[in-house]
Symmetry: C2
């Protein structure tokens, strides 16, 4: 407690800053968040921030990576509970829609992330949604379940549909009542990729 190792203390400060970033960015948005207030809220100064993350966008990238990692974990849970490969794709989609109900996810990953960090597929954290969907789609095409379509195109469309539906659900007046509508429509649309008729 008294004499911590240097790296250990540094890692602790990084965690505190990232945690403060999640709160501030989610509450006020990236642009409006003040780095002075943010760092002071964890008893540090901007010196620590610029030393660890380079600039304000660097902290955003670190926050996005953390949230994105948690999203990937939840997606894997939903995926594991599914029976076959096709149900796995649908489960992942429903999971992403549900995840976007979290204000942190919505504001940080879906709005400010693309606006201030550029295209999600070029993030260091590699956007969990896209990555998982691409793998699932690739498997379904190989198994002859899905029509032969460009993997990245299908993944982009599916993720885009899911995340956009999620933004709608979150912005609606009664999220809980429109969520099933979104999930149902997503399922129908995804079935457009199914081979045969069933």
């Amino acid at each position: 407690m008294v004499a911590r190792r240097r790296l250990e203390a540094m890692e602790q400060n990084r965690s505190k800053l990232i945690a403060a970033g999640r709160k501030a960015f989610a509450a006020e948005g990236f642009a409006a968040a003040s780095m002075d207030e943010l760092t002071a809220s964890v008893s540090l100064t901007r010196g620590a921030l610029y030393h660890n993350f380079g600039d304000k966008a660097g902290l955003l990238a670190a926050v996005v990576a953390q949230v994105d990692g948690e999203m990937a974990a939840r997606a894997r849970e939903a995926s594991a509970a599914a029976a076959d490969g096709w149900e796995r794709l649908l489960a992942e989609g429903a999971a992403y829609i549900a995840m976007a109900l979290d204000p942190e996810v919505r504001r940080i990953v879906l709005l400010d992330g693309p606006a201030f960090l550029g295209d999600p597929s070029r993030w260091p954290s590699q956007n969990a949604c896209l990555d998982a969907t691409k793998r699932t789609v690739a498997g379904l095409i190989a198994d002859g379940v899905m029509k032969r379509v460009d993997i990245e195109a299908a993944a982009r469309l599916l993720c885009g549909a899911a995340l956009n539906a999620a933004l709608w659900v979150a912005a609606s007046d009664d999220p809980q009542s429109v969520l099933p509508k979104a999930v149902h429509a997503f399922r129908l649309m995804a079935e457009g990729f199914l081979l045969g008729d069933r």
Copy 2:
């Protein structure tokens, strides 16, 4: 030329500011654009800006409304050229994907717009993409072409898929080669909403 009517001059200044906003926001992004430089580029000062648009976000809203209006016009053109109702939906989707190749549309309407103005469906300009798609979907359901699904949900998913695919196309290294892949995948996915099998 010499003694213009008051309202006419004011409308001209508004137009100049909006035009400057389109350039600056597209080139530097909303957050990085300086209102001093922007107003000076059309021989005005920030006084004119704050008098006409209230604040910086007000100018963004005006710019978004203008670009959004142009998008709606182009969507109507694409729609009018289509044979039946279903082809009209696909044509609109393809048109939106193509439109997002324009850096102005991408940066202003798809990235900064949602981030700084909130959910597109609550914009004063009412988001052309969403609105047109909703009308088309409603017609197709009434005609028994599409499955009975929540209209807003279907429109949101279709627009989300199209716009997200567009962001992918735009961010790719060779946009012209991936665009057909995106359009093809969009068509397949939309067919999930079709009644019957063909």
